[in-house]
Symmetry: C2
Subunit: 350 residues, 2 copies
DNA sequence: GTGAAAGCGCTAACAT
DNA sequence: ATGTTAGCGCTTTCAC
């Protein structure tokens, strides 16, 4: 293992008495090589442990591949912005490997816009695709197309149990709900907990919060069978109503001290929380949006469970470039990212 | 910004009417270029946004640099093994950039061995050094030598407030103690807490647990002024004594339920903890050693605060290769890594 | 089937 | 002070 990176195709050519061209053909399993030459080359490779110089290869190829990322549009400060940051970072390292990263975005509340995005994506002839599936059926149609075109794709955030994704990077959603309940109730014995939910029409969209809720409920049922969970629905589009909705609920249920929310918008209830410091609500939410972090530091939110969306994107793109450039398959298909527990005293280091 | 990565030194040569050689000289600030040529080249570079192809450059240079990592020897399962894993991973990517990573280890309890390691390190003529300072004075002597030799170095784990390190990657130690106290006492009102410490001779070694203890104590003093902290000393070299030491303490102080430990060896007390499930001790320790994680999952330890030692090493080596290969200075000098809060329900994803 | 040769973008030695 | 040239390791024509 000492002669690392030393031996070149020129060496192999010399040692086999063949030319660089033939060695190259063998290396890439190109046809038009006699069995004899093939095995001569392979023998030397095995024995000497040849490792190609990927950069010389890239230099000589001058071929540009493109990885396509399909992502929901977002407002500043929203969850997907964190994902996008990871994409931007990855673009550079991917660029070094001759892989260009392009984004196509769509309105996550408009299925037609998603369809168009898929069309546009295909028209760009990508060598690989990264996507966060929002519309279940449409996504399945799309990845099916990718499959027949032989274009590898990787899921981030959520996966569909479809056929043939290359890899998935995301949070273990059920467990995140379980963890959420654990943190919310640690060292306590709540008789009631409040779950704040967002009213919205879901037209077939896949929804990670469903799994979270399940994990959460299971934990509660297992550990606090006598505990009653309440659901409170708020409307993010009518911020002025949120406070009164909450005021009403909590005046009707004055003993509820534990609050959880399974989407990334715990910041929506901070206005209410700020008005009732005396209640010492214990509040757990998800994702390190700037607004959530602020709520954490202000002491309004007890804890956030975060999922490194930037890393998800980064690793998704890496998996694809590894395949495209190095021919390396990802080591695992389903990759669950760590669930970071943020409190007001460690949040600033994330 | 659209013509990324397109323009080459050949282009520049053509456009300025100079030769590739001269352009290269300008690019590297080599001497022997007239002001006139210099500015002609610079002008084009600015306007066209030239970005060198680092791999072509590396290919042509064929120069091997070496980054030296100075690390304590360790037994399997100990803290430094986590650091080493990061080093191993980094070696590959550094290798791609023509930077070889070499390790030199020493006995962290033997100052003479450290001196020898330093000597050996210098003899290898490294282009950069990564080190975790254990012996304060000796380290200062060593980095002083590095300075006069113009060899950049970066601290991991702990830093010394010495003169001129390139960067530091580590945990914010004081804050980690503060966080530890917060987690230990969250939603409770302890009258007493136990701090388990390790007896050992410290001959001038820098000790991150000192800062942790300070942060911890400050938190307790600020939030629970009436709370009494007890220190219990155990000897890791005499495992058979540990249990009895703890038994004795806790029989004398039956109301103490909160336990913290500021080094990475919380696993040392799990034998004791396992014997007293009825006490429901609340226990917080540090670092994700395999043995600690096991204790966490077994429910013996409530929480671990982990610091990503692998990442520390990785980023340290990156900082050095960035400087060596790309000439990029690190963006920040003191880089604090996230403090991960591990519970039994998220530990397996780290 | 195989070899020879040009060239990717850059560096370094050698001319001038 | 500047130009020329021969590679670095690999790919890709184009011949034979």
């Amino acid at each position: 293992m000492e002669n690392k990176q030393k031996i070149t195709i020129k060496d192999i050519a010399r040692m086999t008495g063949l030319s660089k061209g033939t060695v190259d053909r063998v290396l890439h399993n190109r046809e038009g090589v006699s069995r004899k030459s093939y095995s001569k080359v392979m023998k030397v490779i095995e024995e000497l442990g040849y490792e190609p110089n990927i950069y010389a290869s890239l230099l000589a190829q001058k071929k540009e591949r493109i990885v396509l990322v399909l992502l929901p549009k977002y407002e500043p400060g929203e969850f997907w912005e964190l994902t996008e940051e990871g994409i931007t970072e990855s673009s550079e390292s991917a660029g070094n490997l001759g892989v260009k990263v392009e984004k196509v975005d769509y309105d996550q509340y408009d299925i037609e816009s998603f369809r168009n995005a898929c069309k546009k994506a295909l028209s760009l002839k990508p060598s690989g695709v990264v996507l966060a599936p929002m519309f279940r059926n449409e996504t399945l149609v799309f990845v099916d197309k990718l499959n027949t075109l032989g274009i590898p794709f990787v899921y981030i955030d959520t996966k569909l149990e479809s056929n043939s994704y290359l890899a998935y990077f995301g949070m273990p959603t059920y467990q995140s709900g379980y963890l959420c309940a654990h943190i919310l109730t640690d060292e306590q014995d709540p008789k009631e907990v409040a779950i704040v939910r967002i009213q919205r029409d879901k037209f077939g969209k896949s929804d990670p919060t469903i799994n979270r809720r399940e994990g959460f409920m299971d934990y509660i049922a297992e550990h606090f069978p006598a505990c009653t969970p309440y659901n409170i629905f708020i409307n993010p589009n009518k911020p002025e109503e949120i406070d009164s909705t909450l005021e009403q609920f909590f005046s009707e249920h004055p003993d509820v001290r534990h609050i959880a929310m399974f989407n990334s918008r715990i910041y929506l209830i901070t206005s209410f929380l700020g008005k009732h410091p005396e209640k010492k609500y214990r509040v757990v939410g998800f994702d390190n949006l700037a607004a959530n972090i602020k709520a954490l530091k202000d002491g309004l939110v007890t804890c956030l469970i975060a999922q490194r969306p930037g890393d998800q994107a980064h690793r998704a793109i890496s998996a694809l470039t590894d395949l495209l450039v190095f021919g390396r398959e990802p080591s695992g298909r389903d990759n669950f990212m760590p669930m970071d527990v943020l409190t007001r005293y460690n949040a600033e280091y994330y």
